[in-house]
């Protein structure tokens, strides 16, 4: 067995490393989470900010990911 027992999923790793690039949408999402915290109606959600954040991350990760894969 190779020495590399601990396999790190490259996608997770790149998503972590792309976080600094997408701070703005992340802060927007966190602000939204705080805003809807007290809501009990069940109608409020942060899908928009969530999508914006993950879209930013995806755009950052996509060009780099396949270079790390076989």
């Amino acid at each position: 067995m190779s020495a590399d027992e601990e396999v790190v999923d490259p996608k997770k790793y790149l998503e972590e490393s792309c976080k600094p690039k997408c701070v703005k949408p992340l802060l927007e999402y966190q602000a939204c989470v705080k805003r809807i915290q007290g809501d009990d109606s069940g109608h409020k959600h942060c899908t928009g900010q969530y999508f914006d954040y993950w879209h930013c991350i995806d755009k950052c990760v996509a060009p780099k990911l396949f270079a790390k894969l076989k």
Binding site: V7, D9, K70
Partner: protein
Amino acid sequence: MKDTCHQIPKQLVIRREKAQDCVVEKLGSISFTLAHRPKRVIQSSCVKQPLCHRGTTIFSRFSISSSIVSVADLVVPFPGETLSLRCGLIWCEALIKMVGGGVIQQILRRKLHSPSLATPVRSWFSSKTAHVDTGSSGVRAFALLGAGVTGLLSFSTVASADEAEHGLACPDYPWPHDGILSSYDHASIRRGHQVYQQVCASCHSMSLISYRDLVGVAYTEEEAKAMAAEIEVVDGPNDEGEMFTRPGKLSDRLPQPYANESAARFANGGAYPPDLSLITKARHNGQNYVFALLTGYRDPPAGISIREGLHYNPYFPGGAIAMPKMLNDEAVEYEDGVPATEAQMGKDVVSFLSWAAEPEMEERKLMGFKWIFLLSLALLQAAYYRRLKWSVLKSRKLVLDVVN
């Protein structure tokens, strides 16, 4: 040529008409000259425009604020734009130009009180457009402006529709087989088939692929035969009229996990795991979508709760998918020793699915390259030959003798 281009300037038209008048007067004259061969004008400098654009150039010619380049041409095509949206934008702009032209003309008339300026402007306008009377033009201008504004608003609101309904847009990954002359990564197809067999085949059928299709693509003939022999296939009827089971052959299709759709739905909480033979062609941006979906299982955003039995996936339209996360690190042990991370398995299985949906891709690209090259040569040859034959007519001289 009824498909007329509206760009023939009036001056040349008049000249042609004059020349034609002279020809009519001089019927019977053997030789006739055209002062300037309007060859360049007749041969359209007209660019092929969409219908809506051609119509609106008529409007824009009559407005004071018209310019050669329409503003709509400057709007860069954006993702999600359709022809109808662009036509809508062009028409709205034409309406606004018309309205703007009317408004500017009114302002000009009021500000410059000299009748000498107003009259030629007004006469020019009245000869061309219909709505010049000051009384109702204000109401009409407002109505047209309202139409333009609603047109603009309609195309701006399309982009902000409910995001979860369409799912998060998947990014474009740089697939190794994307280039114009790029083939599949066959090692990846082989690994992808292994992932399919061990992870996906328990729920998803691939009923259009046979074992023989894999020969030469992912496995040798012996390997494929051995794989086929592992499954049991119902065959028959035999001489006694009974169905029997036998080990699989190369000609058999990949096995189906469920007997029919109802059984599949019953086993999966009402959801039908779709057949994967054509899935990358059956979904928009299929390759990127399937990869994003398989590797995109995440916690739902704040405020979203998914019911029991479903799982959150932002790429799935609606967000709630029946399939749980199937690709986990080390779920499969690859024969060639490649570390089986989630992303690696996702890439391999999508390569396999791409091949399954488009096995002809490599041959198609080779053929495409070959025939585009040959047809380009044929085009050059045809162009030369056409110009050669037409040179006789194009270098002809016509003399129009004008009688005074």
